[in-house]
């Protein structure tokens, strides 16, 4: 089983960042107030933002090590990234979004078509294959984004606010689908969210980020039993 391990230090503007985390099996939900550094953490893991120091490991691959001068470029990290609002290519159809991903990862020919079909089937998107992504609902777009990210067989998954685009009614249903799907997927997954309900439903582990630091990490029950700060206590209450 590959695990994503990171110990990172850096600075975003005036905010010093310092954190250590491990995602082995299942999903780690990273929560925290606005400006706590959640998205910066995600971008550092992804390779879009360079930490000042630290080390990132994915299974037995070292993605970043400031001491050894290792910094694997974003293109070669093999991390599945699903940003907020999904960033589907608006000029391409659903299947062309997936084909683009596969071709970018070096897959070609009959294998490309087979894997594109497989990715569509996996998320039950076959009947949307020819549609433009801009014509899909939020839930459908999310499935396309997942199918596209997973089609290239990443070794870990990074999701940024995957449910922020939904209103309360649609959110519950999409959240249930996503929770169930991620559990079945069995891939180290990191989900950034500001929503307690999302964190509770999606994360087997929850890491609370405050002012650039992880103040507490554990299961929902552990956090609930012994909240480490006022923010944690209030955040947990927000899930009800």
């Amino acid at each position: 089983m590959t695990a994503l391990r990171a110990r990172l230090g850096g600075r975003i503007g005036a905010l010093p960042l310092e954190f250590e985390l491990e995602v082995a099996r299942g999903t780690l939900a990273v929560v925290g107030p606005n400006g706590a550094g959640k998205t910066s953490l995600l971008l550092m893991l992804l390779g879009a933002l360079q930490p000042a120091n630290g080390r990132i490991e994915l299974g037995d691959r070292v993605l970043f090590d400031s001491d050894a001068g290792i910094d694997v470029p974003l293109e070669d990290r093999r991390l599945g990234y699903v940003p907020q609002e999904y960033a589907l290519f608006p000029h391409l159809s659903v299947q062309d979004n997936i084909r683009f991903a596969l071709r970018s990862s070096g897959v070609a020919g009959p294998e490309l078509e087979a894997r594109a079909r497989e990715a569509l089937a996996e998320l039950k998107l076959e009947r949307f294959a020819e549609r433009r992504v801009t014509a899909l609902s939020g839930g459908e777009q999310q499935r396309v984004a997942l199918a596209r990210a997973l089609s290239v067989r990443p070794q870990a998954l990074l999701l940024d606010e995957p449910l922020a685009a939904f209103d309360i009614a649609a959110r519950r249903e999409t959240r249930a689908f996503l929770a169930e799907y991620l559990q079945r997927l069995d891939l180290p997954t990191l989900v950034v969210t500001h929503d307690a309900g999302d964190a509770q439903a999606l994360g087997q582990q929850i890491a609370v980020l405050e002012a650039g630091r992880i103040v507490q990490c554990g299961t929902w029950q552990e956090l609930d039993a012994r909240p480490a700060s006022r923010f944690v206590r209030e955040f947990l209450r927000g899930a009800a």
Partner: protein, 284 residues
């Protein structure tokens, strides 16, 4: 409306409402009047150009010996300069749009040709690429870049490139950076991200920029005159031919002008329609 309240304006609402409406109407007409004045002034020369020529005059003017060589030269040189501007300006704008540092300085340098007078641009080109420039020392004896058809193209590139680069830059900057990050996360390398994500998403902006730039090149006069001269069939583009014709035959100058305006208008309308169809393709 606020009759129930006891504030000052509320109590006087009924009589002042009528006055306020009248005042609003007056203010609207003042603004509209000022706008109409400019519109009328802008329309007058165009009307003059078309209204004072009969069709027969127009056809006779077209038979003037300066017309066809100039039209041909203008189409050839502006096609060449547009090709250079788009081929080199697109990558430049892409790199600039994604650069973190020094972009303000580079952008300022790129915008300079928009604000400096074309005659100054002509002198500057002469000093940079003319026979007596630093580069000129390397030219074979008796040859110079200046006063050739290539010089016409260079002058057009110099004055028109900023229009394209600015439009391309803002088109590239409008692309959601997450799209580029996601593409890279699949393993897409820079050229692929540029060609398959950047170019198609910026296409309408690039097209609009190309149109602006082409129009500027087509109308180029001052820099061409200084750097390339006014040699018939070699450097005499439509605007220079109009200038030359006017000294002897206003009718020919007018015909040439009409050709130029119609050409520009056709292109403007064509590109607008193309842009609309591109927009329509996006279901938003």
């Amino acid at each position: 409306m606020t009759r129930g309240s006891d504030t000052g304006p509320g109590r006087r609402a009924a009589p002042s409402a009528r006055a306020a409406r009248r005042r609003q109407r007056v203010e609207h007409s003042v603004l509209a009047g000022a706008g109409l004045l400019l519109l009328a002034f802008m329309a007058a020369p165009l009307l003059g150009l078309f209204a004072t020529a009969s069709f027969r005059d127009f056809v006779a003017g077209l038979q003037h010996p300066l017309v066809w060589p100039a039209l041909r030269l203008s189409l050839i040189t502006t096609s060449a300069s547009l090709a250079v501007v788009v081929a080199l300006g697109t990558p430049l704008a892409w790199v600039l749009a994604r650069a973190q540092r020094a972009t303000r300085l580079v952008e300022t340098v790129l915008e300079l040709p928009i604000v400096i007078p074309p005659a100054v641009a002509g002198i500057a080109l002469l000093l940079a690429f003319g026979r007596r420039s630093l580069l000129g020392a390397l030219y074979p004896p008796g040859w110079s870049l200046s006063f050739t058809t290539s010089a016409v193209v260079l002058a057009q590139v110099f004055v028109s490139a900023p229009f394209f680069v600015q439009a391309a830059l803002s088109a590239f900057r409008r692309i959601d950076p997450h799209l580029l990050l996601v593409a890279r996360s699949f393993g897409a390398h820079p050229l692929r991200v540029f060609a398959r994500v950047g170019l198609p998403l910026a296409a309408p902006g690039l097209l609009a920029g190309a149109l602006l730039s082409w129009a500027r090149a087509l109308g180029e006069f001052g820099a061409t005159l200084m750097f390339a001269g006014n040699l018939e069939g070699k450097t005499q583009t439509l605007p220079l031919a109009i200038y030359t014709a006017m000294e002897a035959d206003l009718r020919a100058a007018q015909s040439l002008s009409i050709v130029l305006v119609v050409l520009a208008l056709l292109l403007l309308v064509g590109v607008r329609a193309l842009l609309r169809s591109l927009d329509g393709g996006e279901v938003r």
